[in-house]
Symmetry: C2
Subunit: 226 residues, 2 copies
């Protein structure tokens, strides 16, 4: 029963910062403050009411600003939203890069750990609410598509390393495919067992099942013979 020691995780949880702001250059500190306040309010609005609620006026109202002031900091809605997505996605990337540091345990343990962390994040309101919006947007906005896929590329990196270790006999392409499949499987659970979803309560069992399943497929997978 190699999967039962979830409680012994070295990293009990990840606390992904809401947003990662780029280092400031120029301008007064007050300006940067309000800029961050704007993006925070925008994120809050996105999480609570969805993408369609992200109007300039609502954002301005949420953080107690006049519209004119908002357009001073972000001239267009487009600009604001791009800045928001950048800060949002960067925050996840920072965290995923940190996960890459886990190198001292057996690969089986690390797989369980990484998957556990991701599945834990999926249950948060922020992730459950934001990512479906991003997925939907990416269908019509190449910028979003590219940014989101770049995020997932980073998310797969830690999986890739583990898979390589477990199956050095497979081709890099196979490693990629396995990491992709595992990552996609977990993302899919968002819709069913994410925050306030019907099967939120079954996430513990699903996590056990998922990790068990992922470990198995990595161990036994054989690419098509042809």
């Amino acid at each position: 029963m190699p999967f039962s020691n979830l409680e012994s995780r070295r990293f009990k949880s990840i606390a992904i910062a809401d947003l990662a702001f780029p280092a400031r250059e120029g301008g007064y500190s007050k300006g940067h403050e309000t800029r961050e306040q704007i993006l925070s309010s925008a994120l809050h609005l996105l999480v609570e009411e969805g993408y369609s609620a992200l109007s300039m006026r609502k954002v301005a109202a949420t953080c107690g600003l006049k519209i004119g002031n908002l357009t001073y900091h972000f001239a267009t809605r487009e600009e604001l939203i791009r800045a928001l997505l950048d800060a949002l996605i960067s925050a996840y990337e920072v965290e995923f890069d940190a996960i890459l540091q886990f190198t001292d345990e057996a690969p089986e343990e690390r797989l369980a750990e990484v998957c556990g962390l991701i599945l834990e994040d999926i249950r948060t309101k922020k992730t459950t609410h934001v990512f479906p919006e991003l997925w939907a947007l990416s269908n019509h906005d190449p910028f979003v598509l590219e940014r989101v896929q770049e995020l997932y590329t980073r998310a797969r990196r830690s999986l890739l390393e583990i898979i390589r270790e477990l199956r050095p006999d497979l081709s890099p392409q196979c490693h990629e495919d396995l990491a992709l499949f595992i990552s996609a499987s977990m993302e899919g659970l968002t819709v069913f067992a994410g925050y306030r979803k019907p099967f939120e309560g079954r996430m513990d069992q699903l996590e056990r099942m998922a990790i068990q399943s992922f470990l198995r497929i990595v161990q036994i997978y054989q690419p098509a013979s042809s």
Copy 2:
């Protein structure tokens, strides 16, 4: 190599109707025609430009109607969208119910078949574009959440039957969890290997991998000992 006979599928593809319209009752036939035309145009708009493009005026323009006429058939935008989602989701449900008829082969084969059909559907533009919108909407609209989850309940039915057959020793709850996990895994691939997604070209390998993985986890899964 029990998974290699994808080409021997009995049902080479499913052609999910775009929309399933309820039987008409009362009214002239012309009225029903335009009603269906409206919903078809709305679906087209939803797929091509996303949910935010679903304005009354755009829908009216797309099917060459005046706004006044559109509001005659659907008094409010809300009403139109609900009718659209109903027709849309019904179309999938009709198809999923049809899959339940596959009962003459071995459960292993049927699992591969059902998963193959679902993964095939995921690659269509319609499904790739519509479902992320639905997932996003379901976060803020209980009506959509309920309708979507009802759809997935039906989608899992065929999986449930197969899993029951393969593992009669497990509890119904375990059967549910397995079906849920498998279904969620496949849905997750939408974002990565759906229509015009970066890994669309790897869907064949992913499908093999998925089916292989799903069969294994069903065969070996053991619930937590406690």
